[in-house]
Symmetry: C2
Subunit: 446 residues, 2 copies
């Protein structure tokens, strides 16, 4: 008989069905055994009564443990009103089993799937720990975010493209880059798709790409991972950085709306408070933010710093929350010296760039801005930054043959997930996190 999903059992009352899934929990009530069976659609309760089962099935009931994979043939029955209220999780129907087959056995679990673990124990056992409801929910929401990103951009005429990650040079400055042995020559893992997405503006005008990027950062904090998912777009024919800012803020709204629409159960389970979007998004220049930090948060001397410290990001977000009730704040006009060489200087504010960070609930999740699109200006800026334009000849082709005014952004997917869900560590928002000492398992100390 063809398998049906657990969620379909409610439409089959009184009928014989076949379901397949994992044992989520087992409860013994005298000779009767109750199994919560889990599949991709949810959970259904199965009742094992000795007299109803065939002989072979009776013989294996004793063996059945959580995470065993079963095929069960049985009759769908409606549950009593009283029972329905008691056992909300497993629904309004149950399956009275006639036959039980083991598709795969499972070892005894080392601990309860919902146990609170320290970070190392959590990471050491990811392939198992990811089966917990909480983790399953986190990464469902992450998927809704990336799918919302694509959805918004496709609807706005952006063309997706696939970007290489083995590169010949560092894009975002020389530090923090992993080296690859490329047929005996030295290559690198891309820190971002920056050069390629700018190039692609010359082809399709509006482009996006999603994929892995790499930062060989030595420090191990709760907000850094060494390989992460970057959601990037780049758009041509902008007037200035504000067009980019508006597009990314609208994109965020579609991403969050997609979570709301596709993950109602997960939102409930994780008690997620989705952000409201204030329009237009609150924004201020870095200098203005620093003035507020000095005046209201006693952060003396921060005004000439080129960036905000992590605790200052939290403070200025707190300020934005109080003042505008906004979970988002855009900080603009970082100094030229602090941003990469391709960043556009705002002609109205010399020394400062038409670039921005989007802060979300206390941390930066997005960097973006206008880029230099004029060939001569870009070459001169490379020289100013102490770089050799000859080393960028390939990239510079994109500008030599006519590049419109353009800009773009990069969203850290794991970082956004982490902040949206209020997790204590970004590694909890990363499926298989790599850090300084770990690729799946702890790296050999040798």
């Amino acid at each position: 008989m063809e398998r049906i999903l657990n969620s379909e059992t409610t439409k089959k009352i009184g009928q014989e069905v076949t379901i397949k899934g994992w044992i989520n929990a087992r409860r013994n009530m005298g000779k009767i055994v109750f199994l919560d069976m889990r599949d991709r659609s949810g959970i259904v309760q199965v009742v094992l009564v000795p007299l109803e089962l065939d002989e072979a099935s009776q013989a294996i009931v004793g063996e059945l443990r959580p995470e065993y994979v079963l095929e069960i043939r049985g009759i769908v029955n409606e549950r009593g009103e009283k029972q329905k209220n008691l056992e909300q999780i497993t629904g309004t129907v149950e399956v009275l089993a006639k036959e039980v087959k083991i598709l795969a056995a499972a070892e005894t679990l080392p601990y309860d799937l919902d146990a609170e673990l320290n970070m190392d124990a959590y990471l050491d056992n990811m392939p198992f720990n990811l089966r917990a409801n909480k983790q399953r929910a986190i990464f469902k929401i992450q998927t809704a975010l990336i799918q919302g990103f694509r959805k918004h951009l496709e609807a706005n005429d952006f063309t997706e493209f696939q970007c290489p990650k083995i590169v010949a040079g560092a894009t975002e400055g020389g530090a923090n880059v992993f080296t690859v042995d490329y047929f005996g020559k030295k290559a690198f893992l891309a820190q971002s798709p920056q050069f390629y997405k700018q190039t692609m503006v010359g082809i399709y005008e509006r482009v996006f790409t999603t994929g892995n990027v790499y930062r060989a950062e030595e420090h191990d904090t709760n907000r850094h991972i060494n390989e992460y998912t970057s959601l990037d777009f780049e758009m041509g024919y902008i007037n200035d950085y504000k067009d980019v800012m508006d597009m990314v803020y609208a994109t965020l709204q579609t991403m969050v709306a997609n979570v709301k629409e596709t993950c109602p159960e997960e939102i409930k389970l994780l008690d997620v408070k989705l952000p409201e979007f204030i329009n237009p998004v609150p924004q201020m220049k870095l200098k203005e933010a620093q003035k507020i930090l000095e005046d209201e948060y006693n952060e003396k001397g921060c005004i000439n710093e080129p960036d905000l410290e992590p605790h200052q990001e939290r403070q200025i977000c707190e300020y934005a929350k109080k003042k505008w009730d906004s979970d988002f704040l855009v900080v603009t006009h970082y100094p030229v010296s602090k941003r990469p060489m391709y960043t556009y200087e705002d002609p109205a504010d010399p020394g400062f760039t038409g670039s921005f960070d989007v802060l979300f609930r206390g941390t930066e999740i997005i960097t973006g801005g206008q880029r230099i699109h004029e060939y001569d200006k870009l070459v001169n800026n490379m020289i100013k930054f102490g770089l050799k334009p000859e080393g960028y000849a390939y990239y510079l082709q994109a500008f030599k043959y006519g590049m419109p005014p353009e800009g773009g952004i990069a969203i850290g997917l794991e970082r956004m997930t982490w902040q949206l869900l209020g997790l204590d560590n970004i590694k909890k928002a990363t499926l298989f996190p790599r850090d300084r000492t770990r690729i799946d398992e702890t790296l050999n100390k040798a």
Copy 2:
């Protein structure tokens, strides 16, 4: 005035509009200059008549060359019936310019964008060459393929996930793997997401992931690249490999349908012959294919070979085309020794696996099959293959705690694009191809 797209000019006849774009072509007719202006929506003709232009605009007309980026204000006029027939490419309306501003200059093009180049010249100048209509069309179609892949799987309850690419060991056997310096320790670039997607079956039952994978293959043929896009899915609770085969064949149909729906212009431009799908898909065992090759193609002695040679793939596809008029052929039951250690042996055909290749118009574009899901069997198979199970402890967790019968596939996106479009080299179907001697530019010989 707010910019409109070229495609919107047809709705603005008699009105003043602002358009922005690249000069695709310039034609002089005495004192009148015609520009074909290109933007992401297509091409529109602009007419520059000295008397209609303001003084500043008149002064720059002489300078304008292909790939200059312009902002043009002008009046939309309908073109005469005769003209419409003559100049189909640039549409039914034209813009009589009032004002022309240069947003960015372009150097004189080194050659015509549609020029036929040798492979090195083509690759050396990709950022420029990609602007040609032909290349723009190729990668639009590639995007439609990947988006069709996602669309089909989302509709079939698959959950997308993000997969790391820095790994601690080789997944698909030890050869052909790039090494990464990971904080002074040796790591590798993933050859596939195999272990992770299998693990994720334990979490979501049906999963897919798309992303870059790496093969450090030394040989430089027209069908190999060293970094490519792998479209992967994996599904649990299958009966056998045929469930996987049916799912991938249905996925291919959605991918091709998505190309048909979203790329009509590109299909015309590249003269693409989209495949028809014969249902069910023709399939045969490797042994059967070899028998046909011996009998009908004089390929003596191929019957005990573990795989088909490239020319044999072409021959057997030719056979399938003649016999069933099918562009696809599924070849199943490769020997256990030829497939990776996780491949499932068909109990009905000992020594041969429940695995398959999908051949498309003469070349393999997909590999898939059922995997070993029982923990003990998998451990034993590792030992049989001369591998140490201790080295796979992390991966093995997924099987220790109950894995349903499962299988999956990987599609090479560039290879599928290449075959679909009938290109002479897979590098033409790869945005920024890496090969033994090239990462964008030719690698320094030093």
